[in-house]
């Protein structure tokens, strides 16, 4: 039996790892996106009492290796009485970590937002919340599309770290097969294929979204 045939027979393990990775990735990027938008909204507040700690939080996250954050949530939180299982620790760590990155991407774009549009919104009676959700956020998202796409790929790759805190995802499946049958090369080539497939699909979707923003002059696709 060739090594590839062994892996084919064990395809169920890859498949469940793949589904688990997809699930973790999907949940955590939705969480990260919401966190990023929320941080941006809070940063709109001009009060320094709020913006300074937020900026410190965002920078602290960005300067932290992801694995350390995953360790902290999984091994560290129980010592303060919060116990999350490996799966939720992983999802939580990814969401918070990449949420900070999303916030930073949004914030950078917000700095270049034309003030005239804000004035027009105020002149038309908009208050902060509606202005943010109706006018600011949609444009900022359209304008940062490519950076967000890039960040999503980082987030996908970071899911592989979760094998270290015992989450059984795609990399964990490859790990276990490679050590059971001593066929690391083939097992890891298979997971590379899976990660590439997700990334390529994501790239295509992000690119398609570009047509939407190109029509509005935000982009040239």
């Amino acid at each position: 039996m060739s090594n590839w045939e062994i892996l084919w027979d064990e395809r169920a393990q890859f498949w469940s790892g793949f589904l688990s990775t997809l699930e973790i990735f999907g949940l955590s990027i939705v969480g990260a996106f919401v966190i990023g938008c929320g941080l941006l909204y809070l940063l709109e507040e001009s009060r320094k009492r709020l913006t300074i700690p937020l900026r410190i939080f965002i920078d602290a996250m960005r300067m932290l290796p992801f694995l350390i954050l995953a360790y902290l949530l999984y091994y560290g939180l129980p010592s303060v009485g919060i116990r999350l299982d490996a799966w939720w620790s992983g999802v939580g760590a990814l969401a918070v970590y990449h949420g900070a990155y999303f916030a930073e991407i949004f914030r950078g774009n917000r700095l270049t937002f034309p003030p005239g549009q804000i004035e027009a919104a105020k002149a038309h009676g908009f208050t902060k919340g509606k202005m943010f959700f109706r006018l600011l956020l949609p444009q900022i998202i359209m304008q940062t599309r490519q950076l967000l796409g890039n960040q999503l790929i980082y987030a996908l790759k970071d899911t592989a770290f979760l094998v270290i805190i015992t989450v059984s995802e795609l990399t964990a499946a490859a790990n276990s097969l490679s050590s059971t049958y001593f066929i690391p090369t083939e097992a890891f080539i298979v997971v590379i294929g899976f990660y590439w497939a997700i990334s390529v699909t994501m790239e295509i979707i992000i690119k398609q979204c570009g047509r939407f923003s190109a029509k509005r002059g935000f982009d040239n696709v």
Binding site: Q117, A120, H124, G125, R134, Q139, K215
Partner: protein
């Protein structure tokens, strides 16, 4: 008539308005009354404070002293001096419509949605009602056939006409125009002025900062000349353009191709 009464009747009533940026006084004790249906043009050289005056009317600039009433309602602060909460300020602001030099359309929305955005999401109009209103206004400014286009595909003149429709859609008590044609190619100025002229004929109340002297003369009921934050001359357009009282205005008009009588 008492002073309180005239304020109630006026579309805009500005009293003792002063404003400084750092230690530069931009507006000094400005008094201005705009009656309903009246067109008032504010003229002056750059740095005279005319845009600041206009922007104080809807509180985009916060004056240091004085009061502004829009259709009898005080904007920015309550009569007893308490600052107005944001929501309340937004409501009074919505009584004014503003057209900017740089158009400031919202680029992610098409023409129709630029015009319906504030009526639906600020005033709470139904989608159908807002769209009907928007279509009538786009018709008025000659932009109906562009209703599905996005701002990035429009010329400056077209953008400004959409911006005018957008401001009108709020059914404001007064329209504020801040140099509406200054950012336009000379050949596009005419189409925007034509729209504004139509509005004045329809009886809209308007306050306008402009450098278009011939236009100011043709549409205004009252011309105000601002110099270093002071109103140094105010008159009907005929008097203002033919027999200015001050040397300063005479000199200004000489440098600005004084329009021949209409």
């Amino acid at each position: 008539m008492s002073e309180a009464n005239t304020s109630e009747m006026a579309a805009v009533s500005i009293r003792h308005l002063s404003k400084s940026f750092d230690d530069v006084e931009v507006l000094r004790d400005v008094e201005l009354e705009v009656k309903t249906g009246e067109v008032v043009t504010i003229i002056g050289s750059s740095g005279s404070g005319k845009s600041t005056l206009l922007r104080c009317i809807n509180w985009l600039e916060k004056p240091d002293r004085g009061s502004i009433h829009i259709a009898g309602q005080r904007i920015g602060v309550h009569e007893d001096g308490r600052p107005m909460p944001v929501r309340e300020l937004a409501k009074v602001r919505a009584k004014t419509g503003m057209v900017f030099q740089g158009f400031n359309l919202w680029p992610h929305l098409n023409v129709l949605h630029n015009v319906t955005e504030a009526p639906i999401h600020v005033q709470g109009a139904s989608k159908r009602e807002a769209e009907e209103r928007a279509m009538a206004l786009l018709e008025k400014v000659g932009m109906v056939d562009k209703r599905d286009s996005y701002p990035n595909t429009l010329s400056g003149g077209q953008k400004q006409r959409v911006a005018i429709a957008r401001a009108l859609a709020m059914q404001p008590e007064v329209m504020l125009f801040d140099e509406p044609t200054s950012a336009l190619d000379p050949e596009l100025v005419g189409e925007v002025l034509a729209v504004i002229k139509d509005l004045s004929a329809e009886g809209y109340t308007m306050v306008m900062v402009t450098h278009e002297m011939a236009f100011a003369r043709a549409v205004s009921d009252q011309v105000v000349f601002l110099e270093k934050g002071l109103i140094i001359e105010r008159a009907d357009p005929e008097t203002f353009f033919t027999t200015p009282k001050t040397d300063r205005v005479r000199k200004f008009l000489e440098n600005h191709d004084t329009p021949s009588p209409a």
